[in-house]
């Protein structure tokens, strides 16, 4: 198993991070009852694209993310990153690697490490940098993200917003080709969320890393994304792609523009339709 490290990274930042999902299906088989979570789902995500995945709860978005990250296998189809096969026929489970890093919904900073130690973790365990150099670099990157004063704090000592920001820094220090975010701001209030969005956009403008971002929040999706992929209810497949042609860098004035309002409307119809289907499906399952 070849481990991806900073030293054997292919391509320049602009040409890396093309993610292609082709005809991917996933069937769960708990106790002999086949449950189809993903049904022939295809997406082509360009290098450096901010790709926002929107769909009803339980539709299989996270299943897709888990397949890319290598946490779960797929049943059919294939997923390629920059042309390299991650998983596909004969290799249902992708290797886990530092080229695809997940930022989890509830946050997964190690509570027993300080923020700087957390950020330094990747380069350190990969043996790319010595511990001292890794910590130095971690401090620099935390400072860039506006967390310079918090390197010596433990995750339990900082706000959830700061912790989440540090977690994204911890992902970016590995120079990943894709950043996988699974509803990272779900539990946050609107004001904190707004700050998190600005911070993320700022980090994105600096790194131009491909972002695969799962969310329920339409406005979040349109504000952050280059394209919004609306998924159908379970089993999930692609329903609609909305191109967001709002120029970057974006700021909060965008939210009140006519262009933004039209995009929300365009997306909302598709999402609403699927949400109703999901709701009825849920009712039938319970009955």
């Amino acid at each position: 198993m070849q481990k991806y490290t900073a030293s054997n990274r292919p391509g320049s930042p602009q040409s890396r991070g093309a993610l292609s999902i082709r005809n991917v299906s996933k069937v769960y088989d708990p106790e002999g009852v086949n449950v189809m979570a993903v049904d022939h789902c295809s997406m082509e995500i360009a290098p450096g694209e901010v790709c926002m995945i929107v769909g009803p709860s339980g539709c299989g978005k996270t299943t897709l993310l888990n397949a890319i990250a290598g946490f779960h296998s797929i049943t059919t189809g294939e997923i390629r990153l920059d042309g390299e096969l991650l998983c596909g026929p004969g290799k249902p489970l992708a290797d886990q690697g530092a080229d695809r890093i997940v930022v989890f919904q509830q946050g997964a900073l190690f509570p027993w490490k300080t923020l700087a130690e957390n950020v330094a973790y990747g380069p350190m365990v990969q043996g790319v940098l010595s511990k001292r150099r890794a910590i130095e670099k971690a401090r620099d990157m935390l400072a860039e993200a506006g967390l310079g004063d918090f390197g010596d704090k433990y995750p339990g000592e900082v706000s959830s917003g700061m912790a989440r920001r540090a977690e994204i820094v911890r992902a970016l220090i590995n120079n990943p080709r894709v950043l996988l975010l699974d509803e990272p701001y779900r539990a946050m209030d609107a004001l904190t969320k707004a700050i998190m969005h600005e911070a993320l956009l700022e980090m994105y403008d600096r790194t131009k890393v491909t972002i695969f971002f799962i969310t329920h929040d339409l406005e979040e999706a349109i504000f952050l994304g280059d394209r919004v992929y609306v998924l159908t209810t379970r089993p999930c497949s692609l329903k609609k792609v909305v191109d967001v042609k709002i120029p970057r860098p974006r700021n909060y004035e965008v939210l009140t523009s006519e262009q933004f309002r039209l995009l929300v409307e365009e997306t909302k119809d598709a999402v609403h339709e699927e949400a109703i289907k999901a709701f009825q499906l849920g009712e039938r399952e319970l009955a």
Partner: protein, 286 residues
């Protein structure tokens, strides 16, 4: 400049220490605790002296030695080397059994947690042995081990061992899968995963197990000392000290022994708490 910084630093430290004392003195919770203990002691004193004060001995309480008598009995034994020898002996046995239980129990629990085959082989017999109370092992171990001392140490060891293993196993098995996934996706090897994720993630449970195990060790050591008994000059430990006082009919001295064990247990668990805070600085916040 450096000198100034040094001075101001030490001033800050001193003032923070003083403010800790201040805080304690200003804390109403602290004073409630003190008052509660004093009231308790007064009631006990009154109850114990009810016969001579009211001419009528209150039921149960009237039979107890008064706290003042206990203090007198204590001041008498304080100067006797036998009393301190009892402390030393009991502490030695507790530490021996407890440390042996940690040294064997923590790796055993971790192995159970991380290796499926190990778990499938060793967990069932472990679960059968676990419900047997440590004191039920006393007769068998008296026969099995060549010396009394070794039997007591063995039984104390058993008292802590099962609790420690169960805590370590539970702690290691409930580490959030997100931490493992995050570490693996950042390129952690199995070695790293164990030392940097599973072990620190299990530390809180290790210390919970240690605190509970320490309590059980004291329970067991005292009972084992009473049963196996014997020895001169306090080599029987605090358990035998109490038993001996009972045989000698000295009620106040029994209470002295009991309170001594209370203090010893408190000191032991404080030590564990102190160590826990040292080893897990992030846990202050929880």
């Amino acid at each position: 400049m450096a000198g100034v910084a040094q001075v101001s630093h030490s001033v800050v430290r001193a003032s923070s220490r003083r403010s800790l004392l201040r805080k304690t003195l200003d804390n109403s919770e602290f004073w409630r605790g003190i008052v509660a203990i004093i009231v308790f002691l007064c009631l006990w004193e009154l109850g114990a002296r009810s016969k001579q004060l009211f001419g009528y001995a209150l039921p149960y309480v009237g039979l107890l030695p008064a706290p003042s008598e206990v203090v007198v009995a204590w001041s008498k034994v304080l100067t006797k080397p036998g009393y301190w020898e009892s402390w030393y002996q009991s502490f030695k046995r507790v530490l021996l059994g407890f440390l042996a239980a940690q040294v064997i129990g923590i790796p055993f629990g971790l192995m159970l947690a991380v290796n499926r085959y190990f778990r499938e082989i060793f967990f069932p017999p472990f679960e059968v042995l676990r419900p047997i109370p440590p004191l039920a092992w006393v007769p068998a171990s008296l026969i099995f081990w060549p010396t009394n001392e070794m039997s007591i140490a063995f039984v104390t060891f058993l008292g802590a061992f099962f609790t420690i293993v169960i805590n370590v196993l539970g702690g290691a098995r409930t580490i959030d899968v997100r931490y493992l996934r995050a570490a693996q996706s950042m390129g952690a090897s199995q070695w790293h995963l164990f030392w940097r994720i599973i072990l620190p993630g299990t530390l809180p449970s290790i210390f919970t197990g240690a605190a509970v195990g320490m309590g059980i060790t004291w329970e067991v050591v005292v009972a084992a000392e009473m049963i196996s008994g014997g020895g001169t000059q306090g080599s029987g430990g605090l358990g035998f000290f109490i038993w001996n006082s009972y045989m000698g009919g000295s009620l106040p001295q029994i209470v002295v022994g009991m309170i001594s064990i209370g203090i010893a247990g408190y000191l032991s668990s404080s030590a564990i708490r102190w160590l826990g805070n040292r080893v897990m600085p992030w846990r202050h916040l929880f």
